[in-house]
């Protein structure tokens, strides 16, 4: 697959902690007809290969399932590997995901993100001994996990969330809460009361102000805000 000839300008945030300089924006011009592949990631690969080998970004699967290459593309978080060059204007501004410390160029420190994820105990807990065969789950019960289990932990949502920017240490953030609800919604998990209890403080879940940036940017089309609303609803049911 190839692109029609079009010279695009990629204005990319540069930061190298080893040279002591503050961040700056650097422009790279590229005729995208030379890019093999139709996605933004392929253009970045070619810039790195032919113009500046020091340009740094993460990538792995190249097809939108591993969540490595989340970045801010013209003001909106997304995955470079499934963002079509064709859909972008001539000038593309690339910034690292906001809300996380920058390590270098487009690479941010993901540790705070995974720390919040781990807080919700994102694993199935079942206090009954496992049967010899599978635990049964009806197709309807299983369908409740759709829209939840597909999260790829790319952090596009959490990074777009103003509530997370204000309280990155105390608010779990949309991705972590989507993960929490994935287990609350699972008919095989027996720890819903404890899970809800753990989220009852004023920060963990309640800092969500339904700004909805999370659902807006999710590259997998998931809706963390809805999952957060459902967590709150379950808490109400519990107190009734």
């Amino acid at each position: 697959m190839s692109n029609q000839s079009r010279v695009m300008t990629f204005s990319i945030c540069r930061f190298d902690p080893e040279n002591g300089k503050p961040r700056f924006m650097q422009n790279f011009e590229l005729d995208i007809a030379k890019v093999k592949g139709t996605m933004l990631l392929s253009a970045l690969e070619l810039i790195k290969e032919t113009q500046d080998p020091t340009l740094s970004f993460r990538r792995s699967c190249g097809e939108g399932v591993c969540g490595s290459d989340g970045m801010n593309i013209n003001g909106r978080n997304g995955l470079a590997c499934i963002t079509k060059l064709h859909d972008l204007p001539e000038r593309v501004i690339l910034q690292p995901l906001s809300g996380f410390p920058i390590i270098r160029d487009l690479i941010v420190d993901m540790t705070p993100f995974f720390t919040q994820y781990e807080k919700v105990k994102p694993y199935l807990q079942n206090n009954t001994p496992p049967p010899a065969t599978e635990r049964l789950q009806s197709p309807e019960e299983r369908a409740k996990l759709d829209g939840l289990y597909e999260c790829i932990l790319c952090a596009c949502c959490t990074s777009a969330c103003p509530s997370y920017w204000w309280n990155p240490d105390k608010f779990i953030g949309p991705a972590g809460l989507l993960g929490a609800y994935r287990f609350i919604a699972d008919s095989r998990d027996t720890e819903t009361p404890a899970r809800l209890e753990a989220l009852k403080d004023p920060y963990s879940a309640f800092r969500c102000r339904t700004i909805m940036n999370c659902a807006d940017v999710c590259p997998k089309g998931l809706n963390p805000a809805e999952a957060i609303a459902k967590i709150r609803r379950e808490m109400l049911h519990q107190t009734e």
Binding site: T54, F57, R58, G62, V65, C66, S68, Y123, Y149, E150
Partner: protein, 586 residues
């Protein structure tokens, strides 16, 4: 160089590494998992269709039937003892994943949903069966996340974004750990360990067109070769029939399992001609070859007649949305095609490495001494795609790879746990090893080097694509090998254009290219040597399988030494499956 002492170090955090880690985390040993990416970025995440196990949830099934299909699919190069072990362990392994929380799709009775897949049959070669347990078409994603989650619960110690560079040997021919680099800081650390498990996955990036992630660079295989240990069966690479044409990313075989089929440019179901019995659900090597033959015969689709079409619209929008949502998303994104309405343009894409690091069924790495005697390498294990145990032989069946990861990741963990308890582990190491590793790292620092690694990488991938693809012939493979050897020489003088320490991806890519090059050369040497056609290794100049001369595994050492290993034909619980011609066995 800093040293940290562990009981076990696992390299790689895909299905095999995470499964082994989980086994060991539940013991009280000090275990580290080193991964060059965050665990959920590992390539297992891309697996779509499912995991094979004879649960019999839809139709009657038995592990012996699964074993037969796997042996037949392997074109009789698979080791029967290992295949027996895998197929017997399959149902329990899948149930275990379900108990861990893997969100499998369900049947109306609440059991795990199973779909059809290529080469899997009922009753020893009968009608297609439904053996593939799936979570929609995102089974690998569901698996790697579930295992990652369980490892969070088990408090496994992860070194994410650490790059494993080389094994460190001791003076007794064993392995005393490895040197790895923090990608974030550039710091080198010697992970001194009583045992090391390699679970570094595949190396499909040696080809220009591949379904594999950027990270699939065969790092564990390069490490093993540099340690003087062999690789096995490197000539066997699986080309998955249905990569999106011109892109390479994968459309699961589960699409055909759910009723999709291939059409040529004239709208004919050409697989009916090539494989009257299993048709579109024949083994991957057969389907990929048929597609290429169809295109070479001028029956391709599209303006350049350079691909074929995968039709699924007849399944109906609801079923596609429910069972194949991921492939619909991929084909909308990468081919601008909505499969609910139009067929997807597809072409074979390099997908899976059947060969790898030779191991026994405990995942212990094997080598051969100078007299050709088989020896276990103390302190070293390998599991998953990087290993060759060999359950896939010359051609892997779809959905046997996720099974391989789980079964042999677990086997490695189980065996190592016991070995640690019994007190294995020589803590001595050869200090010269660290000098050797430093010298290798320093080799590209010289400013006299002029070769551009990006150009070398591109030429290597194109050479592999053109000379070692679906069909092979000496007249392409011989010059191909020569070209690769020349590229390997040039790589010695490649220029590292970024010498910084912090998150230097250019340095990592050079180290990866070093591994890829070793693997490409190994593939080329073994492919030239195997003068027959078997499974995925299909030659114009030797079109027949030759059991008399080639019914054995090939071994390749980096110093040029070659060897063979006999194929195991002694399963423990059933009589051996006799050699057959694959077509007559169906």
């Amino acid at each position: 160089m800093n040293q940290i002492q562990f009981d076990a170090v696992i390299v790689g955090a895909g299905g095999a590494g995470l499964r082994a880690a989980l086994q060991l985390a539940q013991s009280n040993y000090k275990v580290a998992v080193i991964s060059k990416v965050y665990p959920t970025r590992s390539h297992t995440v891309s697996a779509q269709g499912g995991i094979a196990a004879s649960l019999g949830n839809v139709v009657e099934d038995h592990w012996e039937w699964h074993m037969y299909d796997t042996i037949n699919g392997s074109d009789y190069l698979g080791d029967q003892e290992a295949i027996e072990y895998m197929c017997r362990e399959a149902p329990a392994s899948v149930i275990e994943l379900e108990h861990m929380g893997l969100p499998f799709s369900r049947l109306d009775n609440g059991k795990i949903y199973q779909r059809a897949f290529g080469g899997h049959t009922q009753n020893y070669g009968g009608e297609p069966t439904r053996r593939t347990c799936s979570a929609a078409d995102r089974t690998g994603h569901a698996m790697v996340h579930t295992l990652f989650q369980k490892n969070i619960e088990a408090k496994t110690h992860f070194y994410s974004e650490w790059y494993a560079i080389d094994l460190v040997k001791n003076n007794q021919g064993g392995v005393a750990g490895l040197v790895a680099m923090s990608i974030e800081t550039g710091e080198l650390v010697f992970f001194k360990s009583r045992a090391t498990i390699l679970a570094t996955g595949g190396a499909g990036r040696i080809y220009a067109t591949t379904s594999n992630a950027y990270i699939n660079t065969g790092d564990g295989l390069g490490m093993v070769l540099r340690a003087g240990l062999p690789l096995e069966d490197m000539e066997f690479w699986q080309f998955h029939p249905t990569g999106i044409a011109g892109v390479g990313c994968l459309i699961t075989e589960g699409v055909r399992g759910e009723g999709g089929y291939l059409l040529n440019g004239k709208g004919e179901r050409f697989m009916e001609r090539y494989s009257p019995h299993l048709k579109d659900l024949d083994c991957r090597d057969v389907v990929a070859r048929s597609m290429v033959m169809e295109i070479l015969a001028g029956n391709g689709a599209g303006p350049d007649k350079d691909h074929v079409l995968l039709k699924i619209d007849h399944m109906g929008a609801d079923l596609i949305r429910q069972r194949l949502p991921g492939i619909r998303e991929l084909s909308l994104t990468f081919a601008n095609i909505d499969p609910i309405k139009d067929p997807i343009p597809v072409m074979p894409t390099c997908h899976y490495m059947m060969g790898g690091i030779p191991t026994n069924i405990n995942a212990q790495v094997l080598t051969q001494d100078n007299e050709g005697r088989e020896r276990i390498v103390p302190g070293l294990y390998a599991a998953g795609e990087c290993a060759c145990v060999s359950v896939h032989g010359a051609n892997r069946l779809g959905t046997n790879s996720l099974l391989d990861l789980i079964v042999f990741g677990r086997a490695a963990g189980l065996h190592l746990e016991k070995a640690l308890r019994e007190g294995i582990g020589d803590t001595s190491y050869d200090p010269e090893e660290l000098d050797r590793i430093n010298a290798r790292l320093g080799r590209w620092e010289s400013s006299n080097n002029t070769e551009d690694p990006a150009i070398i990488r591109r030429e290597m991938r194109e050479t592999m694509q053109n000379s070692f693809g679906v069909f092979r012939d000496q007249k392409y493979m011989e010059p191909g090998l020569k070209k690769l050897q020349e590229l390997a020489q040039r790589l010695q003088h490649a220029q590292l254009k970024d010498k910084s320490k912090v998150f230097n991806t250019t340095r990592i890519e050079m180290l990866e290219l070093d591994n890829l090059m070793d693997i490409a050369v190994a593939t080329a040497v073994c492919a030239n040597e195997r003068k027959e056609s078997r499974g995925a290794h299909s030659r114009y100049d030797y079109p027949e399988r030759d059991d008399k001369n080639f019914l054995n595994h090939s071994l390749y050492f980096q110093d040029g030494r070659l060897g063979t290993r006999p194929v195991n034909q002694t399963p423990k619980y059933v009589p051996p499956f006799r050699l057959k011609d694959r077509e007559e066995s169906l």
